[in-house]
């Protein structure tokens, strides 16, 4: 028996078909973008409504699929997040007109919107469907075409969600190819497409390595880094309300959002109160031995234990060897002194919230700043009524969002606050990113500004923006490149659905987590 037979490996080298197909997807997207950039505002809103409606219809279905495929999170919570990226997201941006030219007679300027073209978006495994919904909506509202590359661990559900939205968009008049998703993502594929001169902008949400690669690609990128949110509970806070916020936030989707609190910091004088309040809100406060068990379980020699990502508190407690009530929502290890070296102060995408206390506000600020460096530019929460301290805290913290008296998971991502709803949380200069806001459709459009001399005698007040829009509409946007009626042939590779082995999956997640640590240190 030859070596080939023994291994059943192909006798010939074969090209990377997935890469080839991804490149053609980018080509299709460029066609779609060419026509879509001239769509009128009513046409854009019609397509946005269509994908919002389609997304909502299957929000629960895809939530279930996502948890089944990735093993992360809670179905009901994922359904909430998915839904939040449909009508709620659209409503938030409905009045932000990125289509109609703007005329400013006072400043003698006219501004014409120019969409980026082809957006290449990288989505994480943690919030696969919500991210697909959210990024597709951003692209549609900004008149861009989008090609998404899902995390390999969430590719089936991501592809299904993207195809579902694409069908709805096309039915509403969008050009074919406006919303696409790579079926078989891989690191070489993502690197190749990111560096391609056929794409116009990258939105990278994911591990540090991926985000850095996006910035190194030579293409414009909107990359965001990991978080490690700290919640400071000031003695001026209503502890019971604060504790309820924290427990609600940490148990939401089993803490899979990067905006979830990692550390709860209060003052010594307040610690007893906080423990009691957390306990009555449904948290389990760990004694020293349980804290040690939890630390040992969560942080292995290879870094964070990926098995714990997005799992429930009870599940983790059982694995860590801690006896808890089955109804426990959050595990709270207690580190009495806020030193920097305790592993439990690192990001934990699971319902484990480390409680610590400082001797005074000054020490609290110092500790908070250092903690936020492992997740720089991201988010923090402040609980309390003392506005002077709130401002001092926000001024000192290297983060671009401080939410007040609300659950940080949801609040920093724009749910329940007036921050823009987002699954791409700009980590700004502090987090080595080009954008410090919650990324929205406005980030995918640049404007051509027509400027007259300040003292020019021009009167622009009679310039009708709608008339300008009509000029650009003359390109007669027609949906084109429609795929054949029958379902496209399923390539053999996809039909067989070669499951990613558990080992490979573990490697991928480990890689992401390792890079996350490297980024911190």
């Amino acid at each position: 028996m030859s070596a080939h037979e023994a291994m059943d490996a192909p006798r010939l080298k074969v090209p990377d078909r997935a890469l080839s197909r991804a490149r053609m997807k980018v080509n299709r997207a460029a066609w779609a973008a060419r026509y879509y950039r001239n769509f009128s505002r009513p046409a854009v809103l019609r397509i946005a409504e269509a994908i919002a409606r389609a997304g909502e219809e299957k929000a629960a279905h895809f939530a279930e699929m996502a948890v089944e495929e990735t093993g992360f999170g809670v179905v009901e919570h994922k359904a909430i997040k998915n839904r939040a990226c449909t009508h709620e997201l659209l409503d938030f941006y409905r009045d932000l007109d990125l289509v109609t030219p703007r005329v400013d007679p006072a400043r003698k300027m006219v501004e014409l919107p120019k969409p980026a073209g082809v957006v290449f978006a990288i989505a994480p495994a943690t919030n696969p469907v919500a991210t697909v919904y959210y990024k597709a909506m951003l692209a549609v509202l900004s008149r861009n075409a989008i090609v998404m590359s899902p995390h390999p661990a969430a590719r089936h559900v991501s592809v299904a969600a993207a195809e579902h939205l694409a069908r709805a968009a096309e039915a509403a008049g969008a050009p074919s190819g406006l919303i696409q998703c790579v079926e078989e993502p891989s690191i070489p594929l993502v690197q190749d497409i990111m560096a391609s001169d056929r794409i116009n902008v990258i939105i990278a949400t994911g591990g540090t390595a991926m985000v850095r690669a996006a910035y190194s690609s030579g293409n414009p990128a909107l990359g965001v880094g990991p978080g490690n949110a700290l919640a400071y509970v000031d003695p001026s806070a209503k502890v019971d309300a604060a504790a309820r916020c924290l427990v609600e936030s940490k148990s939401f989707d089993n803490s899979i959002l990067c905006t979830n609190e990692s550390v709860c910091l209060t003052l010594e004088s307040n610690r007893g109160n906080m423990e009691r309040a957390l306990r009555s809100a449904g948290a389990h406060i760990c004694k020293q031995a349980d804290t040690d068990r939890l630390r040992d379980y969560l942080f292995t020699d290879h870094g964070f234990n990926v098995a714990a990502i997005g799992k429930s508190a009870a599940w983790i407690a059982e694995r860590a060897g801690i006896r808890v009530s089955p109804s426990v929502k959050v595990l709270v290890p207690v580190v009495e002194k806020p030193g920097q070296d305790d592993l439990l102060f690192r990001e934990k995408l699971c319902p484990v919230l480390t409680l610590t206390a400082a001797v005074d506000f000054r020490q609290a600020l110092t500790f908070a700043k250092h903690t936020a460096r492992r997740g720089a530019g991201h988010s923090a929460a402040f609980h309390g009524q003392d506005r002077a301290r709130l401002l001092a805290f926000s001024q000192e913290m290297p983060v671009y969002r401080v939410v007040v008296n609300v659950p940080c998971s949801q609040g920093a991502a724009g749910f329940g606050t007036y921050l823009p709803p987002s699954f791409t949380i700009g980590t700004g200069f502090a987090g080595r990113s080009s954008v410090g806001e919650n990324v929205g459709p406005q980030h995918l459009v640049h404007w051509t500004r027509i400027a007259y001399a300040r003292d020019a005698a021009e009167d622009l007040s009679d310039l009708d923006p709608a008339a300008i829009a009509t000029v650009t509409d003359a390109g007669a946007p027609v949906p084109t490149g429609i795929l054949p009626e029958e379902a496209p042939p399923v390539p053999a590779a996809a039909a067989e659905r070669p499951e990613i082995s558990r080992e490979l999956l573990r490697q991928l997640i480990l890689e992401e987590l390792r890079s996350l640590r490297r980024g911190d240190e």
Binding site: K13, R28, A30, W31, G177
Partner: protein, 426 residues
């Protein structure tokens, strides 16, 4: 100095001189006089580079040979992988690449039973005609006037006399020509009951892509069957997604008894062609499988590349791209015709097969030259020089399509000037 390692030329002029001396003086002279003296040096994607360094966008594609562009990286990868394992193979024996490729082809046309391979389109036509004669035990072959099916023994006899008479290869007793788009004329010949087959290009390329009239091809096919003849579709230029579907006949609701394909089947890298036949016509493959043999027909390297070409053409992204390109030029050429209606008088199009009509008996020769000067290479139709063959590739991207249109627009004043000169000379 053009040093290619294996041979070298001092200049383009030196090359032209040697080519005329040792290769083909007629062709060298023709292109020089036509004002398009191209000698292709580098080639990549849809770009050709003349020895002078001039870049040309290829809209000739050698009739679709470069459907995927020149040296498509994925096909080059397949070719190189093939060279690490295969060679041409031995045509006498069953082979893995031939079996896999014939299965792939037959599955793309489910009413077919066998695929028989050749090295070029003419060889596939040769096989098709012999197969039809075997099936009917009749000798006569009907084709259209100004049809074109290749230059070998039987195939050249089906075509225009320009290519047969010079070699005394015309055979008027066995090969009958009828006008295109005239089913009655075909029926008049078929009625005699001695016709083996009617062979027709689904859209006659060398004739300038005149479009078959509504129902014409189906009527021809039905008439063939009525009178016991076989219907052969020549898909050399219309196959492989070029009309928007894999095979041109699919778009006309036909089920040919035999069809042939070539050109782009080898990805522009390795010559291969195929003749597909129904079980009924292909009986000779059972009776005497070695009745037709070909050392280089169905070479395994060609089969490997052909197999992958088919796979690439079946990808939904590629199919969608073909439609985008087709629609872009449908709209773009309509605009161009409106802008240049004094000389540009008609567009014939199906998918990415286009024939552009100009208002002068040799109009397309002038336009070809004007386009050449503007960086686009598209060839006139040999048998109708009013018509420019305009053949975009299946994976062209939006930017290049726009550039092609912009260059076309820019070339029209020059074309107008050239045509004026031709009219004056006439």
């Amino acid at each position: 100095m053009f040093n290619y390692g294996y041979f070298s030329f001092a200049s383009k002029a030196d090359l032209l001189k040697k080519a005329a001396e040792f290769w083909n003086p007629g062709k060298v002279q023709f292109w020089t006089e036509a004002g398009t003296p191209m000698v292709i040096d580098r080639r990549e994607g849809y770009f050709l580079y003349d020895m002078s360094g001039k870049r040309l966008i290829d809209l000739h594609l050698n009739g679709g040979t470069y459907n995927f562009g020149h040296r498509h990286p994925e096909l080059v990868e397949v070719m190189k992988a093939g060279l690490d394992y295969f060679d041409m193979g031995n045509h006498w024996f069953p082979s893995v690449a031939r079996a896999a490729f014939s299965e792939k082809l037959v599955k793309s046309a489910p009413h077919m039973k066998y695929a028989i391979f050749g090295a070029g389109g003419a060889e596939a036509v040769e096989i098709a005609l012999k197969t039809a004669r075997y099936a009917t035990k009749r000798r006569k072959i009907v084709s259209i006037i100004k049809g074109y099916h290749g230059h070998s023994g039987l195939s050249v006899a089906t075509g225009d006399e320009r290519f047969s008479k010079i070699f005394l290869a015309d055979r008027p007793d066995e090969f009958v020509h009828v006008p295109f788009n005239d089913a009655d004329a075909l029926e008049a010949v078929l009625k005699k009951g001695d016709v083996a087959a009617f062979i027709v290009e689904t859209i006659p390329a060398t004739y300038g892509f005149p479009m078959p009239k509504e129902g014409y091809l189906k009527t021809c096919q039905d008439l063939c069957h009525k009178y016991g003849a076989r219907f052969i579709a020549d898909e050399v230029q219309t196959g492989l997604m070029r009309t928007g579907v894999m095979w041109g006949w699919q778009g006309y609701g036909l089920t040919p008894d035999i069809f042939v394909c070539g050109k782009g089947l080898g990805g522009g890298l390795y010559p291969i062609s195929a003749c597909l036949t129904t079980a009924e016509c292909g009986g000779w493959l059972i009776e005497d499988g070695a009745a037709h043999i070909s050392t280089s027909g169905g070479a395994e390297l060609g089969c490997l590349i052909g197999h992958h070409v088919m796979e690439m053409l079946e990808r939904p992204e590629v199919i969608s791209n073909v439609h985008f390109v087709a629609e872009f030029f449908a709209k773009g050429m309509a605009e161009m015709m409106a802008r240049h209606s004094d000389i540009f008088v008609g567009v014939r199009q199906r998918g990415v097969v286009l024939g552009l009509e100009f208002d002068h008996p040799e109009g397309a020769v002038a336009v070809s030259r004007a386009l050449y000067e503007n960086g686009v290479w598209a060839i006139f139709s040999s048998l109708d020089k009013r018509v420019l063959q305009f053949k975009p590739g299946v994976v062209l991207d939006v930017d290049l399509c726009q550039e092609i249109l912009d260059r076309f627009d820019a070339a029209m004043p020059r074309a107008r000037q050239l045509l004026k000169g031709m009219r004056r000379a006439a």
